[in-house]
């Protein structure tokens, strides 16, 4: 590789070792990872902790990633497991004060027309919520969701349907 042009030079830099690829991927997608963590714990500090934990786990278990084409689903799986672990350890009771309650109750015009829907989503069991978040918010393929949650594709489809039904959202054909 004598005389590489700038573009080639960059391409070379990007290849790197597996650990390097993992690190690059983590930095490039940190916002997505944070949002996903936050969707579980709804708290900035806890979400940051989960992102941090996941990075430690990923680097120390990098040998478990056999093929770098699975990098994304592999890391999402670590991230979601960390978030679920966290929730198990810190079983939280959501306390809503009276003011907020009456705010929710009032028939006044609210810019969050979908507050009920948001709450319905938040109240879904973690597993079902994960499917919705990964499939529709993170735009992953059904196959990828199945890999992350370690279930087969048909199971994901069935559960996705069930989750959407609970949210009373009309689903069209999923393939």
């Amino acid at each position: 590789m004598s005389n590489p042009k700038k573009g080639e030079l960059r391409a070379h830099m990007n290849k790197g070792s597996l650990e390097e690829q993992i690190a690059d991927y983590i930095v490039a997608n940190q916002d997505n990872h944070y949002r996903l963590a936050y969707s579980y714990v709804k708290n900035v500090d806890d979400a940051l902790d989960i992102v941090q934990d996941s990075i430690y786990k990923a680097i120390s278990a990098k040998d478990s990633l056999k093929d770098s084409s699975y990098l994304k689903t592999w890391f999402y799986r670590i991230l979601i497991n960390s978030a679920l672990d966290f929730l198990r350890k810190h079983k939280k009771i959501v306390v809503i004060d009276e003011e907020t309650m009456s705010g929710l109750d009032s028939g006044t015009i609210d810019k969050y027309q979908n507050l009920d829907l948001q709450r319905a989503l938040d109240e879904l069991p973690d597993y079902y919520r994960s499917i919705i978040v990964l499939r529709y918010f993170e735009d992953l393929k059904i196959k990828e969701v199945a890999e992350i949650l370690d279930v087969n594709i048909n199971t994901v489809k069935t559960h996705l349907y069930k989750a959407l039904k609970t949210l009373r959202i009309q689903m069209q054909d999923e393939d």
Partner: protein, 299 residues
């Protein structure tokens, strides 16, 4: 699959505010976990070494009893282990959202040469104090200009701790947009209780060229066998406005590893793109053996 409700939920999801600390948290976690992974590898090797020492002990016991010559050789082996160690003297932590600092001040203990011990410890304290004050000043300046992001983390690691050598590495990680890592080393002769400098290992200055040439050939070798690697050598930087690596400085960062090999270390960006981290090169002893003052440290 299009649904107005789902779209709205997605919109809200994507609007989750990203905290400014995220960048720092991610970079720090990556740096620490990667350092720990590298250390674990070394540790595994150390365990193998420990097992072979245990095996050697059994042979020694037999040896002392059977051979007077063997017993005589043995008496020259220092038995008492070293007690020089390094601890965290104090830690400065700042966590102000966009501004984060985690500064650990190391302190060396257990040296007989208290003058050297004190001078090293004073240096560590002064360095870290300066780092902290600089951080606070820059934080204030940024704040006055309307805010910014900055992270500083300093830590240390014992590289070698055997009968003769105690090498400690201090690293400073600064994050401002991109991250930078600066390393500094101190290597102490525990027997003589003196600080070892790079020039003091050699008879004259010719080591600069010899080591530099060896490093350059190691770089070429690495780049040939692994396409992902890149170092700034003259033929690599023709189209890029970067100074190519030509030679090490006289007092280049170095340490002596547990195998008694000289290791030359570089800061991030010094000789390679940032993705190469902080490169280091083990110099084969045969390359420099003619230039060494003795084989006491480097073997």
């Amino acid at each position: 699959m299009k649904d107005k409700n789902l779209d709205e939920l997605k919109k809200k999801y994507l609007e989750t505010p990203i905290p400014s600390q995220l960048d720092f948290v991610v970079k720090k976690a990556l740096q620490e976990s990667r350092a720990a992974a590298a250390k674990k590898k070394r540790f595994n090797r150390a365990r193998i070494a420990a097992a072979s020492i245990a095996a050697a002990l059994v042979i020694l016991i037999v040896g002392v009893n059977t051979s007077p010559a063997f017993a005589q050789t043995l008496s020259k082996v220092p038995v008492v282990g070293s007690i020089v160690r390094v601890i965290t003297l104090r830690e400065y932590k700042v966590n102000e959202g966009q501004y984060m600092a985690d500064i650990k001040v190391p302190e060396i203990q257990g040296m007989e040469n208290k003058t050297l011990e004190n001078s090293l410890n004073e240096k560590y304290l002064a360095e870290n104090k300066e780092l902290y004050e600089q951080f606070m000043a820059e934080m204030k300046a940024m704040e006055e200009k309307g805010g910014g992001h900055k992270g500083v983390s300093s830590s240390y690691e014992v590289k070698t701790d055997n009968d003769t050598i105690f090498s400690v590495c201090r690293s400073i990680l600064t994050i401002e947009g991109s991250s930078n890592t600066e390393l500094k080393y101190d290597t102490i002769d525990k027997k003589k209780q003196v600080l070892i400098s790079l020039p003091s290992l050699f008879k004259d200055d010719s080591y600069v060229d010899v080591i530099s040439n060896n490093i350059i050939s190691q770089m070429r070798e690495e780049m040939k066998s692994d396409e992902g690697k890149i170092y700034w050598l003259d033929d690599q930087v023709e189209d890029v406005p970067i100074e190519p690596f030509e030679q090490i400085s006289k007092d280049q960062n170095f340490y002596i590893n547990t195998e008694g090999k000289l290791v030359i270390s570089f800061n991030k960006y010094d000789i390679a793109p940032g993705c190469m981290g902080t490169p280091e090169f083990v110099i084969p002893t045969e390359v420099i053996s003619d230039l060494l003052v003795g084989d006491e440290y480097v073997r």
